[in-house]
Amino acid sequence: MNDSTWVLDGGRLIDPANGIDRIARLVLHEGKVHSIDTPDGDLPPDAGRLDVSGKIVAPGLVDLATELREPGSEEDETIQTGSNAALAGGYTTVLCCSSTKPLMDSAASVQLVRQIAQRVDGVRVLPIACLSKGRQAEQMAELGILAAAGAAGFSDTPRPMPNDALLKRALDYCRMFDLPIFDRPEVPELADGGVMHDGQIGLILGLKGLPTEAEDLAVARDVRLAEATKGRLHVGPVSTMGSIDMIGRVKSRGIRISASVCPHNLFGSDELLRSYDSRYKVHPPMRSPSHVEALRNAVAEGVIDAIESGHMPRAQEKKANDLDLAPFGASALETTLAAIATDLVETKILNWSRAIECLSTAPARIAGVEGGTLSVGANADVTVIDPSNAWSVEAKEFRSRCHSSPMTGRTLSARVTHTLVGGRLKFELHPTAAGAAS
């Protein structure tokens, strides 16, 4: 049997890029999408067969910002464990953050991450290199050299970019590479020391707040600079009504900017912090219910283009601390699709096609990378989803090294059953997997 030739039979094929949402046979051959609806007589020889009836067949998910933490912070995550987690969550491509040690602000460190990822041979790993040298927000990193070394874009995320002039310069400069810049919108002076959403619950609990205006002001800056420079800017994750409002307005004026949101901001509110449990110390913070509601609608309406996992793994000994000391972060790759299915598809806010678009097609388009489609000839990156496989989240079963998740204990309504990268089956859900409903 040729391990890169597969016939996926009986599934509901959803390919938002081509407007397809119907039962169809999908054939993968030599690492590429070979054909759709192929008659039996035209199938390549020695094909592996997957009966995916009742399941959804989608282009592999693409994550706009995954922290993989290797090299330098392997206690939090390694490229191997992060890759395993990504595959189990249905991801075939992840854009990984520059927060490694050494930082990805040199060609050598970008190449190192790519080499480790190649050896791991799991999910496709595309490095996002540093935007500023040493992530000091003082001068541009060597963006051209980093691009040549394989950087897929630039960002200091999860750190925000506090230097307006530098961001403007970089947006201008980057136009010659046609690579995107990612900004996590936050004004550090307004967010300083904050632990949770600045609202009624935070006031009652006495915890220092992250005010919405800390994000809103950064988004206002970002949209103006995107307009002024015509550069390629992605803002995200966003979490406030103010952000949505501004992004919606500039988009309606035809300005090129894209935005993303994390699943935890589409799920729960700051009320969860009443438990004082550090698994809810995530960034952006869990906001009040009105923000959650507005964000859900903004995804449905297309004001928000994409959903990113917000995977910020941190070791248990770091998270097992009081809320001031515990770092922001959570393991998210393995629950993102299921959380979106539960919180947005089950609730009829999104249909499956829009959900797949947000998790795959749009991120691939924003990052300008291959993937996000099942067009004939595209990479055979495919995710198979069982939309009626309810499971309960037990973070200790995660493949990720980080076992802290705001989704712990929830019952989610869909589960990834197969992930194929370049036509090779990289993940298959064991029928008796942990958390499976009986």
Partner: protein, 343 residues
């Protein structure tokens, strides 16, 4: 003077069921009154918190303080000793916390030495709640950052009650809630950083008092209004309506940026001084949780004047802490006993 009641006259209030005392926000009026009544009885029984009554002999109370404190820690220690318990002191300076141990591990270590209560103070809100989940013994919150300081709130309420109903309070039929129903209490000062404020405002509201939160807008969030409290920014405009003024210390150590231009300006706007006292009700009570900054939130003539009950608060602190230790230990024993009956 009445003869002091003997220990066996102290009856355990049915309203109380918690093995921990973490905050007042989640207690009911009945539970708060159960603590106050028990505290009042214990104060009498110990002749004003001065004599020993062996109600908790053989038990051990650990003071686990990750933040500086002298008065609260000594008050808890004395409360434990008055009831015959042993105490063990732990403070973060020079301890394992400096060596990188998490506070939960530290607390578990202390618990393993065989303690019945952990009294904890920490700069981060919620730490007592985390300990209550991790430890088997009783946990008392002695202040968690700006969140709550429940025994301070209770002792403030006990002080008000004793002044307003005096000996009637001893009468089981007396209704303390009627005392609070028509009462206006203003919390003045650094509300943003004050755990005393948060414990007082929930406790007082539950007992039916009208609570005014007063201070500069940088220290008094408008969101308190959304939560149903009266917010005022000018002390002069509310002082005549108040039955009680609780003057909270400006917590310079918790403020990263100055929320007002100068101490002089703050004192001009908010210090309780003789001039402001002239506009107050004749029987106004002036309280302060201490330590007080003389000349900042209160002038010496008011702090030492006839309306001040600051030192009574200190004595009542021991009473409330005796009551808390006793109630928690008994509630835990009752819970453990019924769990054993079930198994």
């Amino acid at each position: 003077m009445d003869a002091s009641p003997s220990p066996d006259q102290l009856s355990f209030p049915a309203a109380w069921r918690h093995p921990h005392l973490l905050d007042l926000e989640r207690l009911s009026a009945a539970e708060i009154l159960a603590v106050l009544r028990t505290a009042d009885q214990l104060k009498t029984m110990t002749e004003g918190c001065r004599r020993k009554v062996p109600l908790l002999t053989g038990k051990t109370c650990a003071n686990l303080f990750f933040e500086n404190s002298t008065r609260t820690r000594n008050s808890f220690s004395l409360a434990a000793k008055r009831l015959g318990a042993d105490t063990v002191e732990f403070s973060s300076s020079g301890s394992s916390v400096a060596k990188g141990e998490t506070f939960v591990d530290t607390a578990k270590t202390i618990e393993a030495m065989g303690v019945d209560w952990v009294v904890t103070r920490h700069s981060t809100p919620g730490t007592p709640h985390l300990l209550a989940r991790e430890l088997d013994c009783c946990v008392l919150n002695a202040g968690d950052g700006p969140h709550e300081h429940p025994t301070q709130g209770l002792l403030d309420m006990l002080t008000i009650l004793q002044h307003r109903i005096g000996s009637d309070w001893k009468n089981e039929a007396a209704d303390p809630e009627k005392v609070f129903a028509g009462m206006t209490v203003a919390l003045v000062g650094d509300i943003a950083h004050s755990r005393t404020a948060r414990s007082n405002l929930w406790g007082l509201r539950k007992l039916g008092a009208h609570v005014i939160i007063c201070g500069p807008p940088t220290l008094v969030s408008h969101r308190w209004e959304e939560l149903g409290f009266e917010v005022a920014h000018r002390l002069d405009e509310i002082v005549h309506r108040c039955d009680v003024l609780n003057l909270l210390r400006i917590q310079f150590e918790r403020q990263k940026a100055r929320p007002f231009p100068s101490v002089y300006e703050y004192a001009a706007l908010y210090a309780m001084n003789g001039e402001r006292l002239r506009h107050a009700k004749d029987d106004i009570l002036i309280m302060a949780p201490g330590p007080i900054n003389r000349g900042v939130e209160i002038t010496p003539e008011v702090a030492d004047g006839p309306h001040s009950v600051i030192l009574e608060q200190v004595t009542n602190g021991i009473a409330v802490r005796m009551a808390s230790l006793w109630l928690l230990a008994n509630a835990k024993e009752n819970a453990d006993a019924s769990a054993e009956n079930l198994s």
